[in-house]
Symmetry: C2
Subunit: 381 residues, 2 copies
Amino acid sequence: MKLVCPQSELSTHLSLVSRAVSSRPSHPVLANVLLNADEEKQLVSLSAFDLSLGIQTSFPAQVEVGGRLTLPAKLLGDIVSRLPSGDIVLDDAAGDPEAGILTTLTYASGKYQMRGLAADDFPELPIVEEGDVAQLSAEALIEGLRSSLFSASSDETKQVLTGVHLSLQAEGLEFASTDGHRLAVVQTVNQQDSGEDTPKIDVTIPAKALQELIKMLERGSSATVTVKFDQGQVVFEWADQRLTSRLLEAQYPNYRQLIPRSFSHQMTIDRRSLLGGLERISVIADQRNNIVKLSINSHQQSVTLSVDAQDVGSGRETIAAQITGEDLEVAFNVKYLIDGLKVLNTTDVQMQLNTSTSPVILSPLGNLKMTYLVMPVQVRG
Amino acid sequence: MKLVCPQSELSTHLSLVSRAVSSRPSHPVLANVLLNADEEKQLVSLSAFDLSLGIQTSFPAQVEVGGRLTLPAKLLGDIVSRLPSGDIVLDDAAGDPEAGILTTLTYASGKYQMRGLAADDFPELPIVEEGDVAQLSAEALIEGLRSSLFSASSDETKQVLTGVHLSLQAEGLEFASTDGHRLAVVQTVNQQDSGEDTPKIDVTIPAKALQELIKMLERGSSATVTVKFDQGQVVFEWADQRLTSRLLEAQYPNYRQLIPRSFSHQMTIDRRSLLGGLERISVIADQRNNIVKLSINSHQQSVTLSVDAQDVGSGRETIAAQITGEDLEVAFNVKYLIDGLKVLNTTDVQMQLNTSTSPVILSPLGNLKMTYLVMPVQVRG
């Protein structure tokens, strides 16, 4: 393999795939990036794969001799990112048995040699040949993921709850995530009408892979993403990039039945005021059990947030709100409210409640169709 | 104590003193900040002290009732920094025995109570009454510290080497720091002529305290800093701020005798080119023993940097330089060269050498009078 390409291109694309390089690889070759230079297409593709998440990206380059090789991803990335802009030559002296698997990187005033591992040892990124295919709007994917990812569990033992559940129906895309204490459900319109053949998507994808997907989509400019999936894998493809992930196979909880249909209390409130108050209250709540009490006062049309951590101190904030229904006291884990309010992202939000022990719904007052359900906590006294 | 002040003032000054709050306090009160409200001067001062470093700062406020109290520094800082701008009232209901040591913070739409500790338990910041006093230029202090701090040892067992040695002579200020492997010496002109009475300063100050001093001076706009010192303490005072630190009392090494007076080799080189090459070489050197070899080629008027880490790879960079003297090969810990070149801060730098085992001097070609000495390392073969 021998190729010439600009430093900036190679550096950008190495940084993209680096997210799928194992930090503690089970096989040495998984710490490497696979470079595949196609002489006919004058294209180089880079791949990294940690056996769960795979990322592939390609870019045009002057390929003098085609071929495949692997190099240590971090070492190559660290050197290339420190090079001045200008052309880089990568050459593995193919055919020269003495060169072994040494690859030479040359630039205007220097030369580096790195020891790779055989390209044939690098596992193929999963492909989905027999599965279903759908076209999704990149914008809808970004919007839905941004509003749901935060609510997935980060506890690896929670298995299927560490993912985001994605479903595609006639009306559009639905994203759901829950860690058992709160639930975010987001509906977005999928502008890509792919006709009657569009399959019903119903999959749970690890949040870690989706966090990378959102970053890659935000950087790119592609309008449409092709999604292919079968029982065990999902592949997202757009422009010159591809992200693959294993699926979480267990049954996702039937979350729709958790959302109450009617409410006895409703409150509309300025999102930033409520978020600011909760962030200050959380400084004291952090010292104890993270619990904030909300006292909804219908007569005064206000809500009072309060915390009492005896040894440390106490706090009270009062915020104006439009309230219908009787007075109510209800307590929450302050972090769950803060997480949701950061994402709801409209000027006003609506809070709907029944009793101090039944699920509470937060939703934005705007275009985004999002439902955020939080379970209150029971407090003594 | 009762006072009214703008949120922004209190937040800024709390953040300033927070650097002297113990993270693992030996006495509970050292996790607190001392507030002292002076009704007559309409001034509030904040103090924090970890028994080695002390910081005090004051600002004007509407003091309705003077007094002293302490509050948990982190808790207070976290709440105040999250408050919206506007006036804050702090009130400890002085004289009300039922209030105990609860202090109330009130702002437009909320109220926090925090439990403090008795102000009398807070240790006084050291003062120097009998010692020497000098006026130093803030600019010279910043310049000297910026160019010397990096070279002090961060290994607490190295005692006096964890400090920067500061001396004031007729010619100006001299800063020196060494960790045993390299030495930085910086001379700056002290524009503050304080007459014939100016004492000879000759002290070693912990680098940690000086790192805080430089940050505080860079934020401020004061031209002159008053330095008072005796056997065990140094106090820097300017505008409304004060930083105190214990001194490192052991004898500082006689570093001047380490600097060679004559050299058989001299090289002038573009600083950024040398630094860039070393940073790339260090990616590979990191994998082995951090050693870079410099081959100085007088005939070609160039220097070649090289590294060879057998299992990983190798690297070579060639950089043009103006060289006098014979060819020479010399090896260094690449990190020491990088650290120095980051600070030297002129377009070209000069490197002066004798043999591959004797001290090498780097110096900037510009106004700053700095000498950076690095010991080469011996390599086999």
